[in-house]
């Protein structure tokens, strides 16, 4: 279990660094399908798993001058009501609905990937290069 979890982390990290997608889109299905967490527990735990990656990512991007730190941290803090609301909502929705919604998010992301594969420059111009 420990080895599996670590391997999932590395694999999700590689894809995240390679394609510029956030870790969560992979952490959630990995936690659910491989480690056997429920959908909501997987989403909860994914949020924790994202933290170290976001820390290191911010630190590296900061060195390249790509981070407006005050605005970024402010936006995160101002997001608190929305975040707590989202968590509260996911905890009252039927488990199956949460799972279907996440599956839909995976398909939307897959579609964006296909579009990027077909026309990378156009996707980048729309600001879809990172998520």
């Amino acid at each position: 279990m420990t080895v599996e979890a670590a391997l999932i982390g590395v694999a999700a990290g590689v894809v995240s660094g390679l394609l510029g997608v956030g870790g969560g889109i992979l952490f959630v299905p990995a936690l659910v399908l491989v480690l056997g967490l429920s959908q909501v527990d997987g989403e909860a735990t994914s949020l924790l798993a994202i933290l170290p990656v976001a820390f290191v990512g911010t630190w590296r991007q900061q060195r390249y001058g790509n981070v407006r730190l005050t605005e970024g941290l402010a936006m995160g803090a101002l997001a608190a009501a929305g975040t707590v609301g989202g968590v509260a909502l996911v905890n009252v929705l039927p488990a199956h609905t949460v799972k279907l919604a996440f599956a839909a998010l995976l398909l939307v992301t897959a579609f964006q990937m296909v579009r990027r594969a077909v026309a990378p420059e156009a996707a980048a111009a729309r600001g879809e290069d990172r998520s």
């Binding site: 590395v10 909860a44 933290l51 990656v53 936006m75 897959a110 990172r130």
Partner: protein, 123 residues
């Protein structure tokens, strides 16, 4: 540090709220929501939008994880076991990015995500 105007605060509040809702609902960082909005609405360039959204994700995912903890849904051991090795993965992925054909990788990744979506619904 540059002064943040009142209008900008409101924009950040709106974008942050949308991203927070999204993050809480899906267990992701919310960059999918923030990056395009920062680019199209506030006029950030793409790299700045990505970098700045990462700083916001630190706060958003921390708030989300703590809130989920109150609901008793957080598996701290699994989260750390997955999240800390992921740092090494990200560094490797960023290195690989310059060395592999991105179109092929994007296409393969789309297939993987589609497979995962089917797996989740069936499971």
């Amino acid at each position: 540090m540059p002064r943040v105007t009142r209008a900008r605060w409101l924009e950040l509040l709106a974008i942050g709220t949308a991203a927070g809702l999204f993050s809480g609902l899906f267990g992701v960082g919310g960059g999918t929501v923030m990056v395009p909005l920062l680019v199209l609405w506030i006029g950030y360039d793409e790299r700045t939008a990505t970098g700045t959204s990462l700083a916001a994700i630190i706060v958003i995912s921390a708030v989300g994880a703590i809130t989920q903890g109150f609901y008793g849904n957080l598996h701290v051991d699994d989260g750390l076991l997955v999240g800390i090795p992921a740092i090494g993965g990200v560094l490797l992925g960023t290195w690989l990015q310059q060395r592999v054909p991105m179109r092929v990788i994007s296409g393969l990744f789309a297939l993987l995500l589609t497979g995962l979506a089917v797996d989740l619904v069936v499971s």
